[in-house]
Protein backbone atom coordinates (compact mmCIF):
# COMPACT_ATOMS: atom_id res chain seq x y z
CA UNK A 1 0.00 0.00 0.00
CA UNK A 2 2.64 2.52 0.99
CA UNK A 3 5.31 3.34 -1.52
CA UNK A 4 7.57 4.53 1.30
CA UNK A 5 10.22 1.91 1.95
CA UNK A 6 9.89 0.86 5.58
CA UNK A 7 11.86 -1.71 7.45
CA UNK A 8 10.48 -4.75 9.10
CA UNK A 9 11.53 -3.85 12.61
CA UNK A 10 10.26 -0.65 14.17
CA UNK A 11 12.75 1.51 16.08
CA UNK A 12 12.82 2.35 19.75
CA UNK A 13 10.29 0.13 21.42
CA UNK A 14 10.79 -2.07 24.45
CA UNK A 15 14.48 -1.35 24.84
CA UNK A 16 15.15 1.35 27.40
CA UNK A 17 11.58 2.44 27.94
CA UNK A 18 11.19 0.94 31.36
CA UNK A 19 12.92 3.49 33.54
CA UNK A 20 11.09 6.39 35.14
CA UNK A 21 7.70 6.72 36.76
CA UNK A 22 4.45 5.60 35.26
CA UNK A 23 3.76 9.02 33.83
CA UNK A 24 7.05 9.14 31.98
CA UNK A 25 6.48 5.68 30.62
CA UNK A 26 3.09 6.62 29.22
CA UNK A 27 4.56 9.80 27.80
CA UNK A 28 7.26 7.82 26.04
CA UNK A 29 4.86 5.29 24.56
CA UNK A 30 2.74 8.19 23.40
CA UNK A 31 5.69 9.86 21.69
CA UNK A 32 6.72 6.65 19.99
CA UNK A 33 3.28 5.88 18.63
CA UNK A 34 2.73 9.44 17.50
CA UNK A 35 6.00 9.43 15.62
CA UNK A 36 5.19 6.12 13.98
CA UNK A 37 1.85 7.45 12.81
CA UNK A 38 3.40 10.61 11.41
CA UNK A 39 6.18 8.78 9.60
CA UNK A 40 3.61 6.37 8.15
CA UNK A 41 5.12 3.37 9.90
CA UNK A 42 1.46 2.97 10.66
CA UNK A 43 -0.36 3.78 7.45
CA UNK A 44 -3.71 5.58 7.49
CA UNK A 45 -6.45 2.98 7.82
CA UNK A 46 -4.18 0.47 9.54
CA UNK A 47 -5.55 -1.35 12.57
CA UNK A 48 -3.59 -1.21 15.80
CA UNK A 49 -4.33 -4.05 18.21
CA UNK A 50 -4.10 -2.98 21.84
CA UNK A 51 -2.76 -6.33 22.96
CA UNK A 52 -0.03 -6.34 20.33
CA UNK A 53 1.14 -2.93 21.50
CA UNK A 54 0.85 -4.07 25.11
CA UNK A 55 3.14 -7.01 24.39
CA UNK A 56 5.64 -4.86 22.54
CA UNK A 57 5.96 -2.29 25.32
CA UNK A 58 5.72 -4.98 27.99
CA UNK A 59 2.74 -3.51 29.80
CA UNK A 60 -0.92 -4.44 30.05
CA UNK A 61 -3.61 -3.00 27.84
CA UNK A 62 -4.48 -0.37 30.43
CA UNK A 63 -1.64 2.11 29.88
CA UNK A 64 -1.82 1.45 26.14
CA UNK A 65 -5.47 2.43 26.21
CA UNK A 66 -4.52 5.59 28.07
CA UNK A 67 -2.17 6.51 25.24
CA UNK A 68 -4.61 5.56 22.48
CA UNK A 69 -7.30 7.65 24.16
CA UNK A 70 -5.09 10.70 23.96
CA UNK A 71 -4.18 9.99 20.35
CA UNK A 72 -7.89 9.69 19.64
CA UNK A 73 -8.65 13.01 21.34
CA UNK A 74 -5.97 14.54 19.16
CA UNK A 75 -7.46 13.06 16.02
CA UNK A 76 -4.69 10.66 15.01
CA UNK A 77 -6.56 7.41 15.63
CA UNK A 78 -10.12 6.32 16.18
CA UNK A 79 -11.14 3.37 18.32
CA UNK A 80 -14.21 1.43 17.21
CA UNK A 81 -15.83 -1.04 19.55
CA UNK A 82 -15.46 -4.57 18.30
CA UNK A 83 -13.28 -3.59 15.37
CA UNK A 84 -10.01 -2.03 16.40
CA UNK A 85 -8.13 1.19 16.75
CA UNK A 86 -7.74 2.61 13.28
CA UNK A 87 -5.19 5.20 12.21
CA UNK A 88 -7.26 8.06 10.83
CA UNK A 89 -7.26 8.61 7.14
CA UNK A 90 -6.54 12.09 5.90
CA UNK A 91 -6.92 14.08 2.77
CA UNK A 92 -5.59 17.43 1.77
CA UNK A 93 -8.98 19.10 1.56
CA UNK A 94 -9.97 18.15 5.10
CA UNK A 95 -6.70 19.57 6.37
CA UNK A 96 -7.03 22.91 4.65
CA UNK A 97 -8.51 24.49 7.77
CA UNK A 98 -5.71 23.16 9.91
CA UNK A 99 -3.19 24.63 7.52
CA UNK A 100 -4.93 28.00 7.58
CA UNK A 101 -4.64 28.00 11.33
CA UNK A 102 -1.02 26.88 11.31
CA UNK A 103 -0.17 29.75 9.00
CA UNK A 104 -1.50 32.24 11.52
CA UNK A 105 0.13 30.56 14.49
CA UNK A 106 3.50 30.48 12.76
CA UNK A 107 3.54 34.24 12.81
CA UNK A 108 2.50 34.37 16.44
CA UNK A 109 5.60 32.44 17.50
CA UNK A 110 7.68 35.48 16.65
CA UNK A 111 5.28 37.84 18.41
CA UNK A 112 4.17 36.19 21.65
CA UNK A 113 6.92 35.85 24.25
CA UNK A 114 9.77 35.34 21.78
CA UNK A 115 12.96 34.04 23.34
CA UNK A 116 16.21 35.49 22.13
CA UNK A 117 18.17 32.48 20.80
CA UNK A 118 21.46 31.88 22.60
CA UNK A 119 24.65 30.47 21.13
CA UNK A 120 23.63 26.91 21.86
CA UNK A 121 20.33 27.26 20.09
CA UNK A 122 21.93 28.90 17.10
CA UNK A 123 24.37 26.03 16.95
CA UNK A 124 21.46 23.59 16.94
CA UNK A 125 19.99 25.39 13.96
CA UNK A 126 23.29 25.23 12.12
CA UNK A 127 23.67 21.54 12.85
CA UNK A 128 20.23 20.91 11.47
CA UNK A 129 21.04 22.95 8.40
CA UNK A 130 24.09 20.78 7.84
CA UNK A 131 21.93 17.65 8.09
CA UNK A 132 19.66 19.20 5.52
CA UNK A 133 22.55 19.73 3.17
CA UNK A 134 23.50 16.08 3.24
CA UNK A 135 19.84 15.40 2.54
CA UNK A 136 20.00 17.50 -0.61
CA UNK A 137 22.92 15.37 -1.74
CA UNK A 138 21.15 12.06 -1.03
CA UNK A 139 17.39 12.59 -1.04
CA UNK A 140 15.32 10.32 1.15
CA UNK A 141 11.66 10.84 2.01
CA UNK A 142 11.82 9.50 5.54
CA UNK A 143 14.93 11.45 6.44
CA UNK A 144 13.26 14.51 5.00
CA UNK A 145 10.28 14.00 7.26
CA UNK A 146 12.49 13.50 10.29
CA UNK A 147 14.54 16.61 9.67
CA UNK A 148 11.35 18.53 9.09
CA UNK A 149 10.06 17.32 12.46
CA UNK A 150 13.26 18.27 14.29
CA UNK A 151 13.20 21.63 12.59
CA UNK A 152 9.67 22.22 13.75
CA UNK A 153 10.51 21.46 17.36
CA UNK A 154 13.49 23.76 17.23
CA UNK A 155 11.40 26.59 15.83
CA UNK A 156 8.69 25.93 18.36
CA UNK A 157 11.19 26.44 21.15
CA UNK A 158 11.62 30.04 20.06
CA UNK A 159 8.52 31.12 21.96
CA UNK A 160 8.14 30.94 25.70
CA UNK A 161 4.37 30.90 25.34
CA UNK A 162 3.64 27.39 26.51
CA UNK A 163 0.05 27.09 25.28
CA UNK A 164 1.10 28.36 21.88
CA UNK A 165 3.80 25.73 21.74
CA UNK A 166 1.39 22.97 22.72
CA UNK A 167 -1.20 23.97 20.16
CA UNK A 168 1.31 24.43 17.37
CA UNK A 169 2.62 20.97 18.09
CA UNK A 170 -0.87 19.51 18.03
CA UNK A 171 -1.64 20.99 14.65
CA UNK A 172 1.77 20.08 13.27
CA UNK A 173 1.24 16.42 14.07
CA UNK A 174 -2.20 16.52 12.52
CA UNK A 175 -0.89 17.76 9.21
CA UNK A 176 2.60 16.43 8.76
CA UNK A 177 1.59 12.96 7.56
CA UNK A 178 -0.18 14.29 4.54
CA UNK A 179 3.01 15.13 2.71
CA UNK A 180 4.47 11.64 2.86
CA UNK A 181 1.14 10.09 1.99
CA UNK A 182 0.42 12.34 -0.97
CA UNK A 183 3.93 12.33 -2.33
CA UNK A 184 4.19 8.56 -2.20
CA UNK A 185 1.21 8.27 -4.53
CA UNK A 186 2.54 10.63 -7.15
CA UNK A 187 3.81 9.38 -10.46
CA UNK A 188 6.69 11.82 -10.37
CA UNK A 189 7.57 10.84 -6.82
CA UNK A 190 11.32 11.21 -7.03
CA UNK A 191 11.21 14.49 -8.93
CA UNK A 192 8.74 16.02 -6.48
CA UNK A 193 10.80 14.83 -3.54
CA UNK A 194 13.97 16.38 -4.93
CA UNK A 195 12.25 19.66 -5.69
CA UNK A 196 10.63 19.79 -2.27
CA UNK A 197 13.88 19.10 -0.48
CA UNK A 198 15.58 21.87 -2.41
CA UNK A 199 12.84 24.32 -1.48
CA UNK A 200 12.93 23.20 2.13
CA UNK A 201 16.67 23.65 2.25
CA UNK A 202 16.34 27.19 0.98
CA UNK A 203 13.64 27.99 3.55
CA UNK A 204 15.81 26.56 6.27
CA UNK A 205 18.81 28.64 5.19
CA UNK A 206 16.68 31.78 5.20
CA UNK A 207 15.28 31.04 8.64
CA UNK A 208 18.62 30.14 10.15
CA UNK A 209 19.99 33.44 8.86
CA UNK A 210 17.12 35.30 10.51
CA UNK A 211 17.65 33.35 13.73
CA UNK A 212 21.33 34.24 13.72
CA UNK A 213 20.56 37.94 13.71
CA UNK A 214 17.84 37.31 16.26
CA UNK A 215 14.89 38.67 14.30
CA UNK A 216 12.10 36.30 15.27
CA UNK A 217 9.41 38.35 13.57
CA UNK A 218 11.12 37.75 10.27
CA UNK A 219 11.31 34.06 11.12
CA UNK A 220 7.56 34.11 11.59
CA UNK A 221 6.97 35.79 8.27
CA UNK A 222 9.19 33.38 6.38
CA UNK A 223 7.54 30.39 7.97
CA UNK A 224 4.12 31.76 7.28
CA UNK A 225 4.92 32.13 3.62
CA UNK A 226 6.50 28.70 3.34
CA UNK A 227 3.77 26.80 5.16
CA UNK A 228 1.22 28.48 2.95
CA UNK A 229 3.08 27.77 -0.28
CA UNK A 230 3.92 24.25 0.76
CA UNK A 231 0.25 23.55 1.28
CA UNK A 232 -0.68 24.99 -2.11
CA UNK A 233 1.95 22.95 -3.92
CA UNK A 234 0.76 19.84 -2.18
CA UNK A 235 -2.88 20.48 -2.97
CA UNK A 236 -2.17 21.21 -6.59
CA UNK A 237 -0.10 18.12 -7.16
CA UNK A 238 -2.64 16.00 -5.29
CA UNK A 239 -5.52 17.29 -7.37
CA UNK A 240 -3.54 17.05 -10.60
CA UNK A 241 -2.76 13.46 -9.76
CA UNK A 242 -6.38 12.75 -8.86
CA UNK A 243 -7.70 14.03 -12.20
CA UNK A 244 -4.99 12.17 -14.08
CA UNK A 245 -5.84 8.83 -12.50
CA UNK A 246 -9.56 9.47 -12.88
CA UNK A 247 -10.63 11.65 -10.01
CA UNK A 248 -11.68 10.20 -6.66
Amino acid sequence: MTAIPTLGRLPAADGAIQSGGSRERIERIYAVLRKRICLLDYAPGERLREETLADEFDVSRTPIRRVLARLEDEGLVRSVHGVGTIVTDIDIDALEQVYQLRVELAELIGKLSPVRPDAQKIAAFQTLLARCETLVATPDARKFAEINMDFFHLLNSLTANEPLRAISELLYYQTTRIWLKTASRLESYQAVLNAEITIFHREMADIVAAVEIGDLEVVGHIRRAHISMSFLRLRDSAHADATRTGDD
Copy 2:
Protein backbone atom coordinates in the same frame (compact mmCIF):
# COMPACT_ATOMS: atom_id res chain seq x y z
CA MET B 1 -13.39 28.15 51.21
CA THR B 2 -15.32 29.47 48.21
CA ALA B 3 -17.34 32.62 48.69
CA ILE B 4 -19.58 31.63 45.82
CA PRO B 5 -22.84 30.32 47.20
CA THR B 6 -23.31 26.79 45.91
CA LEU B 7 -26.13 24.42 46.61
CA GLY B 8 -25.78 21.06 48.22
CA ARG B 9 -26.96 19.03 45.27
CA LEU B 10 -25.08 19.26 42.00
CA PRO B 11 -27.16 19.49 38.82
CA ALA B 12 -27.48 17.00 36.00
CA ALA B 13 -25.82 13.84 37.14
CA ASP B 14 -27.24 10.34 37.11
CA GLY B 15 -30.65 11.33 35.79
CA ALA B 16 -30.96 10.89 32.04
CA ILE B 17 -27.34 10.20 31.29
CA GLN B 18 -27.75 6.54 30.49
CA SER B 19 -29.07 6.68 26.94
CA GLY B 20 -26.79 6.54 23.93
CA GLY B 21 -23.66 4.60 23.18
CA SER B 22 -20.61 4.38 25.36
CA ARG B 23 -18.92 7.23 23.55
CA GLU B 24 -21.82 9.60 24.12
CA ARG B 25 -21.93 8.64 27.77
CA ILE B 26 -18.26 9.47 28.24
CA GLU B 27 -18.73 12.70 26.35
CA ARG B 28 -21.59 13.69 28.64
CA ILE B 29 -19.70 12.90 31.82
CA TYR B 30 -16.81 14.91 30.46
CA ALA B 31 -19.03 17.91 29.75
CA VAL B 32 -20.60 17.76 33.21
CA LEU B 33 -17.28 17.58 35.03
CA ARG B 34 -15.75 20.30 32.91
CA LYS B 35 -18.65 22.60 33.61
CA ARG B 36 -18.47 21.91 37.33
CA ILE B 37 -14.80 22.75 37.37
CA CYS B 38 -15.34 25.97 35.47
CA LEU B 39 -18.23 27.10 37.65
CA LEU B 40 -16.17 26.30 40.75
CA ASP B 41 -18.58 23.63 41.94
CA TYR B 42 -15.24 21.90 42.27
CA ALA B 43 -12.89 24.48 43.72
CA PRO B 44 -9.23 24.62 42.68
CA GLY B 45 -7.27 22.24 44.89
CA GLU B 46 -10.28 20.06 45.62
CA ARG B 47 -9.78 16.31 45.47
CA LEU B 48 -12.05 14.28 43.20
CA ARG B 49 -12.31 10.62 44.15
CA GLU B 50 -12.73 8.35 41.15
CA GLU B 51 -14.96 5.95 43.02
CA THR B 52 -17.27 8.72 44.22
CA LEU B 53 -17.72 9.92 40.66
CA ALA B 54 -18.17 6.34 39.48
CA ASP B 55 -20.99 5.88 41.99
CA GLU B 56 -22.64 9.14 41.04
CA PHE B 57 -22.69 8.41 37.33
CA ASP B 58 -23.44 4.76 37.94
CA VAL B 59 -20.45 3.36 36.10
CA SER B 60 -17.20 1.78 37.16
CA ARG B 61 -13.96 3.66 37.62
CA THR B 62 -12.84 2.79 34.09
CA PRO B 63 -14.90 5.30 32.07
CA ILE B 64 -14.40 7.88 34.81
CA ARG B 65 -10.68 7.48 34.43
CA ARG B 66 -11.06 7.95 30.69
CA VAL B 67 -12.73 11.31 31.33
CA LEU B 68 -10.27 12.39 33.99
CA ALA B 69 -7.39 11.54 31.68
CA ARG B 70 -8.76 13.91 29.09
CA LEU B 71 -9.35 16.64 31.66
CA GLU B 72 -5.75 16.13 32.76
CA ASP B 73 -4.43 16.41 29.20
CA GLU B 74 -6.37 19.66 28.94
CA GLY B 75 -4.90 20.98 32.16
CA LEU B 76 -8.01 21.16 34.31
CA VAL B 77 -7.09 18.41 36.79
CA ARG B 78 -3.99 16.50 37.76
CA SER B 79 -3.99 12.92 38.98
CA VAL B 80 -1.36 12.04 41.55
CA HIS B 81 -0.67 8.41 42.36
CA GLY B 82 -1.70 7.59 45.89
CA VAL B 83 -3.21 10.99 46.54
CA GLY B 84 -6.13 11.78 44.30
CA THR B 85 -7.22 13.72 41.27
CA ILE B 86 -6.81 17.36 42.14
CA VAL B 87 -8.50 20.26 40.39
CA THR B 88 -5.63 22.42 39.17
CA ASP B 89 -5.03 25.65 40.93
CA ILE B 90 -4.71 28.74 38.82
CA ASP B 91 -3.45 32.23 39.15
CA ILE B 92 -3.74 35.18 36.91
CA ASP B 93 -0.04 35.40 36.16
CA ALA B 94 0.22 31.84 34.95
CA LEU B 95 -2.74 32.43 32.66
CA GLU B 96 -1.33 35.54 31.05
CA GLN B 97 0.09 33.53 28.16
CA VAL B 98 -3.22 31.83 27.59
CA TYR B 99 -4.95 35.18 27.51
CA GLN B 100 -2.43 36.53 25.02
CA LEU B 101 -3.20 33.62 22.77
CA ARG B 102 -6.95 33.94 23.20
CA VAL B 103 -6.74 37.57 22.18
CA GLU B 104 -5.16 36.61 18.88
CA LEU B 105 -7.53 33.72 18.24
CA ALA B 106 -10.55 35.92 18.87
CA GLU B 107 -9.64 37.97 15.87
CA LEU B 108 -9.08 34.88 13.73
CA ILE B 109 -12.68 33.76 14.23
CA GLY B 110 -13.79 36.64 12.06
CA LYS B 111 -11.12 35.93 9.45
CA LEU B 112 -10.91 32.16 9.00
CA SER B 113 -13.97 30.62 7.36
CA PRO B 114 -16.50 33.02 8.88
CA VAL B 115 -20.10 31.86 8.54
CA ARG B 116 -22.70 34.46 7.68
CA PRO B 117 -25.17 34.35 10.60
CA ASP B 118 -28.70 33.38 9.56
CA ALA B 119 -31.93 34.60 11.15
CA GLN B 120 -31.95 31.79 13.68
CA LYS B 121 -28.45 32.55 14.87
CA ILE B 122 -29.19 36.26 15.15
CA ALA B 123 -32.24 35.39 17.19
CA ALA B 124 -30.07 33.30 19.51
CA PHE B 125 -27.83 36.31 20.04
CA GLN B 126 -30.79 38.51 20.84
CA THR B 127 -32.20 35.99 23.28
CA LEU B 128 -28.87 35.86 25.06
CA LEU B 129 -28.74 39.64 25.15
CA ALA B 130 -32.14 39.66 26.81
CA ARG B 131 -30.90 37.19 29.42
CA CYS B 132 -27.98 39.51 30.02
CA GLU B 133 -30.34 42.41 30.62
CA THR B 134 -32.18 40.55 33.35
CA LEU B 135 -28.74 39.80 34.78
CA VAL B 136 -27.97 43.52 34.96
CA ALA B 137 -31.18 43.96 36.94
CA THR B 138 -30.41 41.13 39.38
CA PRO B 139 -26.66 40.50 39.48
CA ASP B 140 -25.52 36.96 40.22
CA ALA B 141 -21.99 35.66 39.78
CA ARG B 142 -22.91 32.16 38.76
CA LYS B 143 -25.53 33.28 36.24
CA PHE B 144 -22.97 35.72 34.89
CA ALA B 145 -20.51 32.88 34.35
CA GLU B 146 -23.16 30.76 32.67
CA ILE B 147 -24.26 33.49 30.28
CA ASN B 148 -20.65 34.21 29.54
CA MET B 149 -20.17 30.55 28.65
CA ASP B 150 -23.22 30.43 26.40
CA PHE B 151 -22.08 33.61 24.74
CA PHE B 152 -18.70 32.12 24.05
CA HIS B 153 -20.17 29.05 22.41
CA LEU B 154 -22.42 31.17 20.26
CA LEU B 155 -19.52 33.32 19.13
CA ASN B 156 -17.42 30.28 18.49
CA SER B 157 -20.05 28.96 16.11
CA LEU B 158 -19.39 31.93 13.85
CA THR B 159 -16.41 30.23 12.26
CA ALA B 160 -16.57 27.05 10.22
CA ASN B 161 -12.92 26.36 10.98
CA GLU B 162 -13.26 23.30 13.17
CA PRO B 163 -9.73 23.22 14.61
CA LEU B 164 -9.97 26.89 15.49
CA ARG B 165 -13.22 26.21 17.31
CA ALA B 166 -11.73 23.31 19.23
CA ILE B 167 -8.66 25.25 20.27
CA SER B 168 -10.58 28.35 21.25
CA GLU B 169 -12.82 26.19 23.40
CA LEU B 170 -9.84 24.56 25.04
CA LEU B 171 -8.29 27.87 25.96
CA TYR B 172 -11.60 29.32 27.07
CA TYR B 173 -12.13 26.53 29.57
CA GLN B 174 -8.61 26.96 30.85
CA THR B 175 -9.14 30.60 31.65
CA THR B 176 -12.77 31.11 32.52
CA ARG B 177 -12.53 29.91 36.14
CA ILE B 178 -10.08 32.61 37.07
CA TRP B 179 -12.71 35.32 37.08
CA LEU B 180 -15.00 33.63 39.58
CA LYS B 181 -12.07 32.62 41.75
CA THR B 182 -10.44 36.04 41.82
CA ALA B 183 -13.66 38.01 42.20
CA SER B 184 -14.87 35.86 45.08
CA ARG B 185 -11.78 36.82 47.07
CA LEU B 186 -12.14 40.52 46.59
CA GLU B 187 -13.25 42.78 49.37
CA SER B 188 -15.40 44.80 47.02
CA TYR B 189 -16.92 41.65 45.58
CA GLN B 190 -20.42 42.98 44.92
CA ALA B 191 -19.25 46.25 43.43
CA VAL B 192 -16.80 44.53 41.09
CA LEU B 193 -19.47 42.06 40.05
CA ASN B 194 -21.92 44.82 39.20
CA ALA B 195 -19.33 46.80 37.29
CA GLU B 196 -18.18 43.74 35.36
CA ILE B 197 -21.71 42.76 34.42
CA THR B 198 -22.38 46.25 33.14
CA ILE B 199 -19.25 46.18 31.01
CA PHE B 200 -20.08 42.72 29.75
CA HIS B 201 -23.57 43.82 28.82
CA ARG B 202 -22.18 46.69 26.80
CA GLU B 203 -19.72 44.42 25.01
CA MET B 204 -22.51 42.02 24.23
CA ALA B 205 -24.72 44.76 22.84
CA ASP B 206 -21.89 45.96 20.61
CA ILE B 207 -21.17 42.48 19.35
CA VAL B 208 -24.81 41.61 18.73
CA ALA B 209 -25.12 44.81 16.69
CA ALA B 210 -22.11 43.80 14.62
CA VAL B 211 -23.52 40.31 14.18
CA GLU B 212 -26.82 41.73 12.99
CA ILE B 213 -25.14 43.60 10.16
CA GLY B 214 -23.01 40.53 9.51
CA ASP B 215 -19.60 42.10 9.99
CA LEU B 216 -17.65 39.32 11.66
CA GLU B 217 -14.33 41.11 11.39
CA VAL B 218 -15.69 43.83 13.60
CA VAL B 219 -16.92 41.16 15.99
CA GLY B 220 -13.38 39.86 16.16
CA HIS B 221 -11.95 43.29 16.89
CA ILE B 222 -14.46 44.03 19.63
CA ARG B 223 -13.84 40.70 21.28
CA ARG B 224 -10.12 41.13 21.05
CA ALA B 225 -10.33 44.45 22.81
CA HIS B 226 -12.67 43.18 25.50
CA ILE B 227 -10.77 39.99 26.28
CA SER B 228 -7.63 42.03 26.59
CA MET B 229 -9.18 44.68 28.83
CA SER B 230 -11.01 42.11 30.91
CA PHE B 231 -7.72 40.41 31.64
CA LEU B 232 -6.04 43.66 32.61
CA ARG B 233 -8.86 44.63 34.98
CA LEU B 234 -8.72 41.22 36.56
CA ARG B 235 -4.96 41.30 36.99
CA ASP B 236 -5.00 44.76 38.47
CA SER B 237 -7.70 44.01 41.00
CA ALA B 238 -6.04 40.70 41.89
CA HIS B 239 -2.70 42.35 42.50
CA ALA B 240 -4.23 45.28 44.34
CA ASP B 241 -6.01 42.82 46.57
CA ALA B 242 -2.85 40.81 47.11
CA THR B 243 -0.86 43.83 48.24
CA ARG B 244 -3.69 44.97 50.47
CA THR B 245 -3.96 41.63 52.28
CA GLY B 246 -0.18 41.35 52.51
CA ASP B 247 1.10 39.97 49.23
CA ASP B 248 1.95 36.31 49.88
